[in-house]
Amino acid sequence: MIYADSRTILEVRNLCASVEGTPILKNMNFTVKSGEVHAIMGLNGSGKSTFSKVLAGHPDYEITSGTVIFEGKNLLEMAPEERARAGLFLAFQYPIEIPGVGNSQFLRLMYNTVQTHRGKDELDPLEFDDFVREKMKLLEMREDFLDRSVNAGFSGGEKKRNEILQMAMLEPNLAILDETDSGLDIDALRIVAQGVNQLANKDNAIIMVTHYQRLLNYIVPDFVHVMVDGRIIKSGGKELALELETRGYNWVSDEFKAASRVAA
């Protein structure tokens, strides 16, 4: 939702990033205000997943130029864990398996670490158990989930639900959902979307990174951006996603090239 009294949560200016010397992001510009839901769409290799990882501080990517201000702070100077504690959350495209580490143990450490950072009290194991079970209901998760190892042997849908559960627990200011819809059947997609929608409010913001418009039927974006070759070349409302669905991506690139020629 777009609000008149919103604050700027994220401001990306002329961001360039490369991996092993190959430029991936090329002058990325992007602004997110509180209450907004953004969708970044693009083909494979357009740089949209890189953008999510760069925001979260993945060590594989080198920032070559540009600035990113998150909640008034220089995001690029912050370690990945500091970004997370400051309220930036990434729901991973491929959540990693951590065999041997129990889910409840992991979730409690995660929650209490972030709570402590926010100056709030930690929950003891019993309080935490009540808290996490409440959140699990929201995502219709099985009881035995807490006794299993983090993501180990989870189905694709269970992994994605686990991501959204963590998001629900941490209540981030900015949630980035990286291809959260991939690998989800229609029921799981509905449950995940419902979870995300319940968390969205006028103080936080959501960025969805996706291939398909399918997810956007369930989580309706205020803005849709098309990413090609490491930058956003077109932005619009939710109807842009529908247009992409019917017409594909090529016309956007062509339009952009034509506009660039005129400008030159």
């Binding site: 060590p59 065999p99 941490l170």
Partner: protein
């Protein structure tokens, strides 16, 4: 590998100091006269000198094993001093008489020798280089008939028991290093739990090598008579020297009918520096004989130190329905090499064994599990379950598994499971993205990985093991 992860696993060794204490150190070299000298210094009876000399004769005919997956320059057995003892004789009557420098050493290591300061419920025997310097709670244990003393005292005060059991589980010709130990062993712990007695407290031996270029060859013998039970703990540290020291111990356990022996080790010998210079060669033979019916022998080890670890705490399951267990965590870093595992030899009927091995390799280290499960024709109904998991940290470390299974009875059931995992950058990033820093992440992953083994440790030791791994894996101490 990320820099944070590197820092966490590369903590310096905090036990690397040397105690400046006057010691009686024998000249380097080994021949029959060295053995006679050791025996004479300890006022040993004739039969023990004979045992040593026979072992020495056997050793001379043997060659060093080369089959292990660990490599080191040839050891010059003539360049080692076979006896080193702090000068503080005669034998002390109370802890208050112990050299204050020694007390400070052990306090620094976290092993308080004053009984009033000691951990409640743990009796400690302390071995400094070649000799036992202190044993706590001796009188209290004697009230229930438990004998817990240094090996030297056992030879003096209970020669019939030592003579009856010494070398019965590990004959002196068993292997190269066991033969060497049998020839030159200097001290160690002796523990005897009489019929029907449940040892009222955990027993513990703390080993410390202090002198450079001396070897430590201790001998531990534990006997649990019918229906007796005991939990025994062993800890080890050594100073940081640039040369390698040899540690070749022998541990024998004997459990009679319905007896139960639980033996736990936290081994933190000096591992060498980050370039692989120095460190202990830990070549140890440990074996238990579950001799009686329904007897049980359980080994738990947390191996974090030594340049090379070469040990296979084993159980010979002779009594019907006897149980053997082996729970192991081996952590190697830098250039450390560990080739460790177990042997479960099933002879009695319905014998059962469990093997859980967790290997963690970081740096350029090599970590191997080697295990033998042997089911003899007589062992009908025998069962074994083995689980060997390896975890790799970084790109340059190695993990290997060498399971040997030899089944001669078709009513036996043997199961083996193995897995290899990796602490990778992506796992660390996942933790970081949830606000968890690298130290807490590694600690959580490692503790999760080792959980099945840590659960087996007695409480006091579980704390020490967790602290030790945390120390090795966290950045705050040093």
């Amino acid at each position: 590998m990320s820099a944070a992860l590197q820092n966490i696993i590369n903590q310096p060794y905090k036990h690397g100091f040397v105690t400046d204490i006057e010691s009686d150190v024998a000249a380097k070299g080994l021949d029959e006269s060295t053995i006679r000298m050791i025996s004479a210094k300890r006022n040993e009876p004739e039969w023990l000198l004979d045992f040593r000399l026979k072992s020495y004769a056997a050793w001379l005919k043997m060659t060093e094993p080369t089959w292990q997956n660990a490599h080191h320059p040839k050891i010059d057995f003539q360049a080692i001093s076979y006896y080193s003892a702090p000068k503080q004789k005669p034998k002390l009557k109370s802890m208050d008489e112990v050299d204050p420098e020694l007390l400070r050493t052990f306090e620094k290591l976290g092993v308080p020798l004053h009984e009033r300061m000691a951990l409640a419920g743990v009796a400690v025997d302390v071995i400094f280089d070649s000799v036992s310097v202190a044993t706590t709670y001796k009188e209290k244990l004697a009230e229930v008939g438990v004998i817990f003393c240094s090996f030297s005292e056992a030879v003096k005060d209970h020669p019939e028991l030592v003579q009856k059991y010494l070398g019965t589980v590990i004959p002196s010709s068993d292997n190269f290093y066991a033969a060497l130990n049998s020839a030159v062993f200097t001290d160690g712990s002796f523990c005897f739990i009489p019929k029907g007695v449940k040892c009222p407290m955990d027993l513990s031996t703390y080993f410390r090598i202090n002198t450079e270029e001396s070897g430590q060859f201790e001998r531990t013998l534990i006997v649990a008579e019918e229906g007796a039970s005991v939990s025994y703990l062993e800890g080890c540290t050594a100073p940081a020297f640039s040369s390698n020291q040899l540690h070749a111990a022998v541990v024998e356990l004997i459990a009679l009918d319905n007896a139960d022996i639980k033996y736990s080790t936290v081994q933190n010998w000096y591992a060498g520096d980050e370039n692989g210079v120095g460190g202990i060669y830990n070549f140890v033979t440990k074996r238990g004989l579950a001799k009686g019916v329904n007897s049980r022998i359980s080994w738990t080890q947390v191996e974090t130190g030594s340049a090379i670890t070469w040990k296979y705490p084993s159980v010979v399951l002779l009594g019907d329905n006897s149980v053997g267990e082996f729970y192991s965590v081996a952590l190697t870093n830098h250039y450390q090499q560990a080739d460790t595992g177990t042997k479960m030899i099933h002879i009695g009927k319905n014998t059962r064994s469990t093997i859980v091995s967790k290997g963690i390799s970081a740096g350029k280290s090599n970590n191997s599990y080697r295990g033998l499960v042997k089911i003899a024709p007589s062992a009908s109904g025998a069962r074994n379950y083995s689980q060997c998991d390896s975890m790799l940290i970084g790109q340059e470390s190695g993990a290997h598994t060498f399971p040997y299974i030899d089944v001669r009875n078709n009513s036996a059931k043997v199961e083996h499971e193995a897995s290899t995992s990796k602490i990778g950058e992506d796992q660390m990033f996942y933790f970081a993205q949830r606000g968890i820093d690298a130290e807490a992440a590694v600690s959580m992953i490692i503790n999760g990985f080792c959980k099945d083994v840590f659960q087996q440790l007695p409480l006091e030791f579980a704390v020490e093991a967790t602290n030790l791994l945390s120390f090795k894996l966290e950045g705050s101490v040093g």
